[in-house]
Symmetry: C2
């Protein structure tokens, strides 16, 4: 449908939708950057969605049972800013719109979670929104299984563009959603045929409807400018028991001279073009000026859900007090009261038994005590369940037949898994954890970065964390991954040395804000924490595990599986009268966050310092040479190349990561 | 077809295929690890492929026009080792097979490029092989366009498993291949319905044939144990002008008690199981003992292509001497003689004109002189051509209608692009470069790692390399990416400071072994190399750009866009009488590779050192505190958080990366 027909046939709809279009034009013009064409093209679809389908109440943005709206095509951010402003979200003022893309504004270049209410997730890196949405939809089903349909029953809507669908992560999301039969997930594809470089056809000939259908979706199509057709398609999609994709045929930058061109994808800032477009729209108001009747109509849309929200509150109030409190606890993400004592008891039993156990197995043992008291955990693995040890007794498998199940068979989809976990955490009421081999954090990295940027509590259970993986060889052996993950701001990496530290690491992961990567071994490790301490020592990031006998001449700093090696090196050195402290450093980030006095106590000036980690040195110089260190007395025992394929004991010998090598390094520096 | 029928109906085929099966059983048993079931299941398909279709000559593994065989399901590595051994590749001895997965053996856990002839690419990280293969097939077409069908005309065959097809990168590869109509790419899908965690159906319901068809592929299916059906399917696929996918229905671990189970996916090491399986096969020889007639038959398969190879050599010899020399040069990857003088001339002209230009634009200007003299370059961008500046005059677009085109519209597929570039480099005769935003190296990271592991000459043109990207905000601003890339062993990261360094960086990238990441700015930078030097200073990784006037009290070390800031800080400091050296450090890896004497000249002990880079500090402590440094006199001006959305000049102020801040930092440390 073209602009003229739309104006004639659906005048009220047209004016509301066009308010979104001109706000996008005005804000992009003011910022002199951004993306005008997508909001212009999808304004009709979004208007129908918000006016007729989306369950929300602008006055109560955090209503737990609201439908979720995700703008996967995040570059079209002015679409969501316009919607939030017009429907009356308090924090999305016209001043914010005027300050689009300026420092400190809520209206960042791409929608940033936490900047404003109604932004359910950060989007912009393409494909992430649609993959997050799968997690939102899974969280809704999981929570519904726990609390009932009376209080949890909502849809997840996504607007996705061609870029989202070309990114590989979208296939992982589509496959996962299809298998999971997420009937309340509805994707509105902005089928405008245009990307930055030109027509979609210069790089892709995919029949998207056939592709989605091949993975178990219902598919629909409509003229994305015809409000009746859009309404009919969404209505039909809501009835499908399968996830639905609606191909919305649209014109990017509709009504402008840049319509249907890649120019229209970007920032339309030419004064004449904007004036001509306003004229084509019949829009007489000036920039950032919306006629009162349109504002009123949009505000009514924003208030439409108030009664339903009140009815929901009344239904919630009919639950038992205990159930209400539990619902509130899980939505708030508070740990259960029993957790602390449970972890302490586990630590005590480990210190007493002092088992030799792989930290991946210790992780399973910890989950075995956490999962029963935290029904909000939803675990899973990217087809390595037995290796990642993510499945504990009685969890059950989460799938279409069993929404009460708590372990997800994610398939060989590390990226999709991580993105879905972000969606679950953002949804609330679910604490997601998921496993794969540490080396495959590379596959999931864009989503891990977003966990950190959005500060979401997602737990990455990354096993086989070094050459200790053995025979699978260099493609499967992480070497640079600890450094690469530690480089991400706001990400907590914990590499526990034994089963006690593993229990502490999990306690931190499930009780702290933000994401945690647990780096866990394949191989067995001795218990080094044989003396029970109620305090969570890992919370300080590093601590003195064993101090020097007599004068302290060396400090060995190690993580994870190498702490055992450091302890053996200490024994060798002490036997020669070289007093040696061993510092276990499970988390560099947590240690860096400690105050100077504590850090000085752990790493005083003077002694030789040697770091031990079966990984690259990058990141270690801070602890060896800075922080009161001295480069002439600093050494590192680790990796400076990729690994190799062989039994792991041979690899440790081959690459020289042994107690003897550590002791020799110390002596060479004394 | 079951084992009994196969033995009866196709006895010769069965015995050859079963030689592969028992070698897999024997090697996995000896190693006590690995994957038995996949080679057992795909032995029939592989036997037909090698016996009847694959163009190769085991005596001349490097024959440039051989068909390429890629085992994307790399965990089934014993399949390719068995094939190479039996067909008579000299280096794949039975001793190597016996030493499967042992230190130093060519028979690593997963196939490693460079370990043995016939391993065309390193596989194991799932989905990479099929995505590499797209690049192989594109390289073949590109080379054919340059040298003619007489000397370049071969197929690329891939064996892919369910894991490969679930990984998102496979969708990017499928989409790219479909658009490019790569008719000589044939994927044999090991459709066994089993993954590590159980049946495929627990995590995926995708109709793979419909999925491939949706992206423009021809699809076929066959009983993967029936040699006639396999032969017919491959024959049909070869006739299609489109890329082909053959769904081969197979039984994983066929003939064993673990057949069709996830147990069969792993290492079958039980003595009774192995004995029973040998009995089911009617195999009477002991471990690693292949009957002579079977060896002979396989050797004949390995020699089958000798005549064709000789005919090809004869055809090659009919080309003009110049053409033959050029073919040899491009296949060898040698730079043209003119390159050095061309780069020097460019550098001279830049130093004289001293433009203010973004390094992404400087990169385009450099490509504008390289591309005309290096016809082997094949550029491209993941839908950011105008932003990455990868397209130079007269390149033309590489597509089905124009195989002589030299710029690829990769679509929004960073990972698929990187994997395809690996395939091109491995194929030989093509020097691939491709662009996206620096932040999206995260999306391509698994492939970038493989570029490094395989030491392939791939050039990553990564623009918008810091908060200098501006308004698009934190999702698009790399902060940790320089550190994360520098952490990868064997990867060369170069961040040039101006147009001269950009020219030098490109010279290094196209003449050195291994991959290079070029980190380039969006924003304009002043020319800092205003004095022409014929020597490539970037080759040393870091060098003194401007020495102190008088006594040297401070050394500023900076990269890329921050060199300009360091120079301004130097001016401020010198004005106060503080002698300040500025070291430009475009590549930490290259500097680390210099000898101690050179490094000491650049970074002598004594002065205050301040690093300046709009990125996280990780990796910098080596240059600030180690290497004759002193942590009390070391400082860093950069980022310690994610970025923000705003015009870039404001961001540099906001995050305190300014000449004033650098000067203040120096003064606080004096």
């Amino acid at each position: 449908m073209n602009i003229a027909d739309l104006r004639t046939r659906h005048p009220d709809h047209f004016r509301k939708a066009t308010a979104l279009r001109v706000l996008a034009l005005d804000a992009v013009k003011a910022a002199n950057s951004g993306h005008s064409g997508m909001p212009m093209g999808m304004a009709d679809v979004a208007t129908v969605l918000f006016e007729k389908h989306l369950k929300f109440d602008a006055s109560t943005p955090d209503w737990a049972d609201r439908d979720r709206f995700i703008l996967s095509a995040g570059h079209g951010s002015m679409l969501i800013y316009g919607l939030l402003h017009l429907t009356g979200y308090q924090d999305m003022t016209m001043d914010q719109i005027r300050n689009f893309r300026q420092l400190g504004a809520k209206t960042a270049g791409h929608p940033e979670f936490g900047h404003a209410k109604g932004i359910e997730t950060t989007t912009g890196p393409l494909g992430q929104g649609i993959a997050n949405a799968v997690g939102f939809a899974m969280a809704e089903q999981s929570l519904q299984a726990r609390f009932g349909k009376k209080v949890v029953d909502h849809h997840t809507y996504v607007i996705a563009g061609d870029g989202c669908l070309m990114e590989g992560v979208s296939q992982e999301a589509i496959g996962l959603a299809g298998k999971q039969q997420l009937g309340k997930l509805i994707v509105l594809w902005d089928n405008n045929g245009i990307t930055i470089d030109g027509k979609v056809s210069i790089s892709d000939v995919t029949d998207q409807m056939a592709r989605f259908e091949a993975s178990g979706w219902s598919v629909f199509s409509c003229d994305g400018h015809d409000p009746e057709a859009v309404d009919a398609a969404i209505t039909a999609a809501k009835k499908s028991p399968l996830p639905s994709m609606i191909a919305c045929s649209t014109h990017i930058a509709i009504g402008s001279s840049a319509q249907d061109t890649s120019k229209g994808h970007g920032a339309l800032t030419d004064d004449q073009l904007i004036a001509d477009t306003r004229a084509a729209y019949g829009w007489e108001n000036g920039p950032f000026d919306i006629p009162a009747d349109i504002v009123e109509s949009w505000r009514a849309t924003g208030a439409r859900g108030a009664a339903e929200r009140e009815a929901w509150e009344a239904r919630l109030a009919t639950l038992s007090g205990a159930k209400q409190a539990e619902f509130a606890r899980q939505i708030a993400g508070d740990a259960p009261k029993k957790l602390s004592a449970t972890i302490k008891a586990l630590k005590k039993s480990i210190s007493e038994a002092a088992p030799s156990v792989a930290t991946r197995k210790a992780s399973e043992n910890t989950l075995a005590v956490i999962n029963p008291i935290m029904p909000e955990t939803l675990g899973g693995s990217a087809d390595l369940t037995g290796s990642n040890n993510t499945l504990t007794k009685d969890l059950g498998t989460f799938d279409a037949d069993n929404r009460a199940g708590r372990h997800v068979s994610y398939g060989i989809r590390e990226h999709g898994m991580a993105s879905a976990m972000n969606g679950m955490a953002l949804h609330g009421g679910v604490l997601p954890y998921g496993g794969t081999f540490m080396v495959f954090t590379d596959y999931a990295r864009p989503a891990i970065r977003l966990s950190a940027l959005m500060n979401q509590r997602v737990v990455y259970v990354m096993t086989h964390d070094s050459i200790g993986l053995g025979e699978d060889g260099p493609t499967h052996q992480p070497v640079e991954h600890l450094a690469a993950l530690r480089a991400i701001p706001n990400l907590r990496v914990i590499r526990p040395a034994d089963a006690v530290e593993t229990a502490e690491a999990w306690e931190i992961a499930v009780t702290s804000e933000g994401p945690t990567v647990l780096a866990l071994t394949r191989q067995n490790l001795a218990t080094v924490r044989t003396e029970h301490k109620t305090k969570n020592l890992c919370e300080q990031g590093a601590y003195v595990l064993a101090d020097a006998d007599g004068k302290r001449r060396a400090i060995l700093i190690a993580t994870g599986s190498e702490v055992e090696i450091a302890m053996a090196a200490k024994a060798l050195l002490e036997a020669e009268g070289i007093g040696t402290r061993v510092v276990s450093m499970p988390s560099m980030e947590l240690f860096a966050a400690q105050d100077e006095a504590y850090r000085r106590r752990v790493l005083p000036a003077g002694p030789v310092r040697v770091g031990v980690e079966a990984a690259v040195q990058q990141g270690w110089d801070r602890w060896l040479c800075a922080e009161r260190g001295n480069w002439k007395k600093a050494g590192f025992v680790g990796m400076d190349s990729f690994g190799a394929s062989a039994p792991y004991q041979e690899l440790y010998q081959h690459f020289g990561i042994t107690a003897e090598a550590v002791a020799a390094k110390v002596k060479s520096l004394l």
